[in-house]
């Protein structure tokens, strides 16, 4: 992985931007997916709990 990063550091700006784009999009999707799971889990928990408002 370190070697890959090193080769990316030496690559052209467009290749670097493509890497940032790929990593960024994956990062945004996965982070929002975690938020999605939090909401879904909370819903499931809320349905089980008789005291929710």
């Amino acid at each position: 992985m370190n070697i890959d990063i090193q080769s990316l550091r030496e690559a052209g700006a467009t290749i670097q931007a493509a890497f940032v784009s790929l990593g960024g999009l994956i990062g945004v999707f996965s982070t929002l997916a975690v938020f999605y799971l939090i909401i879904r889990a909370s819903e499931a928990f809320g349905r089980r709990s008789p005291k929710n408002e």
């Binding site: 945004v28 809320g46 408002e53």
Partner: protein, 375 residues
């Protein structure tokens, strides 16, 4: 006597052009009501800073009031952070909780950031500058300012102007892109909406969870996410109503006022009037187009896997940009124009608030990944 007329001799054609640019921004704010709270102060700040000798910026070695504001609010990122607290206090995540799947449009509609970044490098920008230009696609002024300030301070003026101008122009930018990518039949898809209560504890837990997750995934995004979620927690806690109102009103207005005029002060003729500025303004538009396309195409992709009665109106995807609530309103208006009585507003708002989350996470990703490669 010479000193009396020094003002006239210190002005060149560049400064005159900047007066016209400032005047144009004020005209857009007053006449067209395009983001008036920002474009008017930005326009006036641009005029002020280009006055002879630029005394408001610096004079005889002493900082002028705009430089004091810049150093105290932009250079240290204080103003964008305060704006985020105010925005957080304004956001109601309720529509998202009722249809959580909308959250993914907040990710898909960040495509413009990354597509524009790649285009910018092809046009000769280095990675950091390209990232700062691409972040216009966050459709989120404070995020754009925050990232531009980190990566390309010289481009702060054009990037901010582009971000706020195109946010105001969402009603003109999005509809043609959506029409180009969808069929009439797709635009008339109806989506059912079930009104259901959202437990208060979920509304309180959500901003805390988001802060924790974002803090672990992209620690550098903590100031952005943390301040937005802090504002939201104040709102949803239910016990800080006065603070919530203060954040939504006094804080928002005061900081917006100072932010606008300070951004205007970064539009000095020697830095603003060049081909690069035109390129940045052009790429900003590209970013918004790709954002819209990303959201719409993602919705169409998802529809391939959904049963007939669960299809998503692909226009909803376009709401994944952060321009809230403008984008949701535009999409609802389009839906009603396509077929009277088609109400998709709440879904659109769900996607739109997701865009707010997506844009700051995307900003955090850019802030984390770019230094990894560009140092």
């Amino acid at each position: 006597m010479q000193d009396v007329f020094i003002g006239f001799s210190a002005v060149g054609w560049r400064e005159l052009v900047m007066f016209a640019v400032g005047g144009a921004l004020i005209w857009l704010a007053v006449r067209k009501e395009y983001e008036p709270m920002l474009l008017l102060p930005i326009g006036f700040g641009a005029i002020l800073v280009n006055l002879p000798l630029s005394v408001v910026w610096e004079h005889e070695g002493a900082a002028g009031f705009l430089k004091v504001l810049y150093d105290g609010g932009i250079a240290n990122e204080l103003f964008p952070i305060l704006i985020f607290i105010a925005v957080g206090a304004m956001i109601d995540f309720g529509p998202l909780f009722k249809n959580p799947a909308m959250i993914f449009f907040g990710a898909a509609a960040q495509l413009g950031i990354f597509a524009t970044m790649i285009i910018a490098t092809l046009l000769g920008f280095d990675l950091k500058a390209a990232a700062a230009v691409g972040i216009i696609g966050a459709a989120d002024g404070p995020t754009a300012i925050y990232v531009a300030n980190k990566f390309a301070r010289d481009y702060l003026g054009p990037i901010s102007v582009a971000a706020y101008s195109y946010m105001a122009l969402v009603p003109l930018i999005q509809p043609p892109v959506i029409r180009m990518l969808t069929t009439k039949r797709e635009r008339t898809i109806r989506m059912s909406y079930h009104e259901a209560g959202v437990p208060r504890w979920l509304k309180i837990l959500f901003p805390i969870s988001v802060t924790l997750v974002a803090g672990f995934v992209a620690p550098i995004s903590a100031p952005l996410v943390g301040s937005l979620m802090f504002g939201n927690l104040i709102r949803e806690s239910g016990v800080l109503e006065r603070l919530s109102q203060t954040a939504q009103n006094e804080l928002a207005y005061l900081v917006t006022l100072l932010l606008g005029i300070t951004i205007g002060s970064s539009m000095r003729a020697d830095k603003f009037l060049n081909v690069t500025t035109l390129m940045i303004l052009g790429m900003g538009l590209v970013a918004f187009v790709f954002d819209t396309a990303g959201g719409v195409l993602f919705a169409k992709l998802v529809n391939l896997f959904l049963p007939h009665d669960k299809k998503i109106n692909p226009m909803i995807g376009a709401c994944g940009i952060s321009a809230f609530p403008m984008s949701a309103r535009v999409i609802q208006k389009m839906a009603a124009e396509e077929e009277r009585g088609n109400i998709i507003l709440m879904h659109a708002i769900g996607a739109n608030v997701s865009g707010q989350l997506g844009s700051i996470i995307a900003g955090g990703m850019v802030l984390a990944l770019v230094p990894l490669l560009a140092g």
